[in-house]
Symmetry: C2
């Protein structure tokens, strides 16, 4: 009997409608506009239905954050492709990272600022999160001895730049100069 399958499919479809609606509202009106009532109205179900999909509001944000990490990983992998040398690869990845944060502010907020209980470097770490880290590591240089330290540092620098740019605490104009400085210490001596 395909009834259970159909139900499963319909459930998954509805779950995706929830996250899609949440993401749309977050990107256009900010996360504070993403209320359970609003989402229920959007998917045309009552509020408790949402709680049969997600434990609480934070879990919805977390689901979108995971999507975000998947998309960030893809964007970073894409960025390395055309690069002809190490320097250009790093520069391309760095600019892609900053562009991603700039173009999807609500998504980036879900990934880094809002309280999701996402765990990193643990047994239950989502593959999307590992993928994003691996994409950075690929640009840093998988051969070098200190890959992990260098990738963590690269990531931190990019995240810091993205966050301070977003909040208007560093000048938008000097972006490329800052990226050059970051990269200069990641090129093997």
């Amino acid at each position: 009997m395909g009834i259970a399958e159909r139900k499963g499919r319909e459930r998954a479809e509805r779950e995706q409608r929830i996250t899609a609606a949440a993401r749309l509202i977050a990107e256009s009106e900010g996360w504070s506009a993403v209320t359970i009532r609003r989402l229920a109205e959007e998917i045309e179900y009552s509020q408790p239905v949402l709680y049969s999909h997600f434990e609480n509001r934070d879990a919805i944000v977390a689901a979108i954050a995971v999507q975000g990490f998947g998309e960030l990983a893809a964007a970073l992998r894409e960025a390395v492709l055309g690069s002809t040398n190490h320097w250009k690869a790093l520069e391309s990845v760095a600019m892609a990272y900053l562009a991603f944060a700039r173009e999807h502010p609500a998504l980036y907020e879900a990934m880094f600022t809002l309280p999701t209980g996402l765990r990193f470097a643990e047994a239950d770490t989502k593959p999307e999160l590992k993928d994003a880290f691996m994409a950075l590591a690929a640009a840093v240089g998988p051969a070098r001895a200190d890959v992990e330290v260098a990738t963590e540092t690269f990531w931190a620098a990019l995240h810091g730049l993205a966050d301070l740019e977003r909040s208007g605490r560093i000048r938008q104009g000097a972006r490329e100069a800052r990226v050059r400085l970051v990269i200069s210490c990641l090129i093997e001596p």
Copy 2:
């Protein structure tokens, strides 16, 4: 008549009691426990009194964030003092920055994560904010031509490291190695 002066003093005193209470609660129970009702109870006044001091809850957070920048600036200035050379100065400042973020998580959250309408690099930018930036610039090297770019980048790297350390996304153990890597590209060639 010193009546107006006395009233002014009492008002300032009460305002400080508000921020002190908010900060204490935030550090011990998190910012979500800092409610207007709770603060009113703490200072033994009714809720509307708080709104005669601050426009809204965010303004209270902002006031504490400004305090935080003042204290961060002091900590960074203190850190440079004993250093005998450029490298050690940068390392000392970097470690002091990360320690500050680690030891005052709620304060740091107010300064960088929570919505305060704090403006940087503008006419009405608070001196505390400038001071903190200047303290970093002092360690980077006031003489070099690209002070501003270098300081912004240094700041971003430190902020990124602090944020990713806090959320457990990079390993606590590799802190010094990451700091060394950041500094290595800030030393004049």
